[in-house]
Amino acid sequence: MHLVESETVMATTSRTKKKPASSGQAATELRSYYKRMSLVRAFELRANEMYARAKIGGYCHLNLGEEATVVGLTAALDDRDYLFTTYRDHGYAIMRGMEPSAVMAELFGKSTGVVGGWGGSMHMFDMGKRMLGGYGIVGGQIPPATGAALAINYRSKAGPKAEAVMCLLGDGTTNIGAFHESLNLAGLWNLPIVYVIVNNRLGMGTPVEGASAEPDLYKRGSAYRIEGTRVDGDDPIAVRDAARAALKKAREERRPALLELMSYRLKGHSVVDPARYRSKEDTDEAKGNDPVPAFRAKLIADGVLTEKDADAIDDDADKVVTEAVAFADESPDPSVDELFDKVYASPVANASTRLPAEPAVVLS
């Protein structure tokens, strides 16, 4: 298990409750969660491979080992809610309804990518899906997410149909000023926002205990009177239920919440990180906790899935990802003609459209 001092604070459901029915709505839902986890896993493994083949540039951080968290959190969100994420955002983009092919095309830097090749791996964004961005600067998303919740307060009343904001961050991010300033504002102004710490136990190579004087990160909301809950991040149902409860409170009571999801990164910080700083025991433990085979095995044991069903789901995921790669590969690069089109939203006199070798002043 994870580094949890007191198991009583850790919200879990599916591992502790009685077996779910093998048919009916609950089973359909569980199968769909496995399907989603399998898709995120397949997508990320393929992204890893495409990076190695130099189809993907820049930084590339994967959700490998965090599939239960990705699926549980996005299952708790309504379409009307806003999501802000870290740079480890591919899975969230897909689960928020963005096409895997458009997400892969973004990784490839193509014009058909979700932001037309302007953002890459760390900056998936879709206004329509209310996925308001992956953010490459650690914690950069926290103040804007808090401001989105301020805008909800500005425009609408609390209630079960109200909008809410979910803002993800990593364990290392709980040490930056913007985290504390934002929680203070959210607590002070009663904002409808759920801050979710995905504690994968490592900020790049630094363990939580080496970075945070209070390593029980869910307690960090207490300075702002924000309730914190620690949740088993390898359990999609526990994650979903905890997120739903927090979102309900945000919608109906306009109270912010803090969730800490305990997970363990399967691989390095990014695709180029071999994670040599991790011991064999660590890596074995992460593999032992791998939520995808664990959830698969559990659903099979509970009679929700057969081996054959699970294999078919995995094959389908693989097919979707293969098609996404083909789409990304065949898509055109953005045109250099559009280089200056998006610098400003309002056209403005004298905006520079100069290429590097062109003069700053054109004699008229």
Binding site: L132, I137, P144, T146, A148, A151, A349, V361, L363
Partner: protein, 337 residues
Amino acid sequence: MTANEPKSRIITYRQALNETLRAELERDENVFLIGEEIGVFQGSYKITAGLLEDFGPKRVLDTPISEEGFVGAAIGSAMLGLRPVVEIMTLNFSLIAIDQIVNHAAKMHAMFGGQVKVPLVIRFPGGGGQQLAATHSQNLEVWYAHIPGLKVLAPSTPAEAKSMLKAAIRDDDPVIFLENLALYNVKGEVPDGEQVAEIGKAAVVKTGTDLTVVSYSRGMVTALQVAEEFEQEGVSIEVVDLRSLRPLDRDTICASVRKTSRAVIFEDDMLSYGIGAEISATIGEGAFDYLDAPVRRVAASEVPLPYSKPLETAAMPHAADLSRVIRETLDATRFKK
């Protein structure tokens, strides 16, 4: 004056800002003000006086001391379609929020594929001369003027304060709105009614034939005063007010210098890598063949600004410094009236 002519009043720069904020709050319910001490305290420099009382705490939102937090929150609210006008107490404190301004507000529209707009105004005064010592007296506007995605405005008169603030609030991009402590009490004629400035345009505010002075913000007051003094001597100085530091209106600058053949830049920031460096390079590229003398810059001395009044005064550019450099530039070309 006929009935059709717009009426005008003589008011201070401070009053022009205050009235414009009021008018924009009345015009658009998505406009709201956010910042430290802008409500109950009515603003550190009283720019927001009376607005909390009339518009309430939703529209005039006092914040804790959290520049990074509330500037970022303003950005997030703008992403959802609100039009926040942020007051940061002085330019110096904007550095605490610079990650949100430079890495986020400035980048979002392009980096997110043109899907989101950030209609945000960040107002703050820059400037020294108030014996506030090194950390409270800076002119770092060039830091923001360096960043594509931002628009940077620097009004020099009450009328511009009004028309440019209206333009900034109605613009769909993040706008840095540079004020100056020494300008708040400056009076000027402000026309009534709707004047909305065009962003990205400089203005020739005084025409002349012998030498061009380029300046902005507080520097314009000095530039016009010195130009008037030279006029008494029979020297015709043209004065260009940059107004917009980004985008920069290079054409207006170069057109002026092509006419006058001489240029002096008067700036409150430091000389090295400053606004004047960019103007000088622009003139070198766009008016080289027309120049009769090297382009000179009158800029702050490169020192953390001291508290002591004589030291502070020595380090800052003043009218006498500008007069001297204009004279040296004229002498270098054996200028004859």
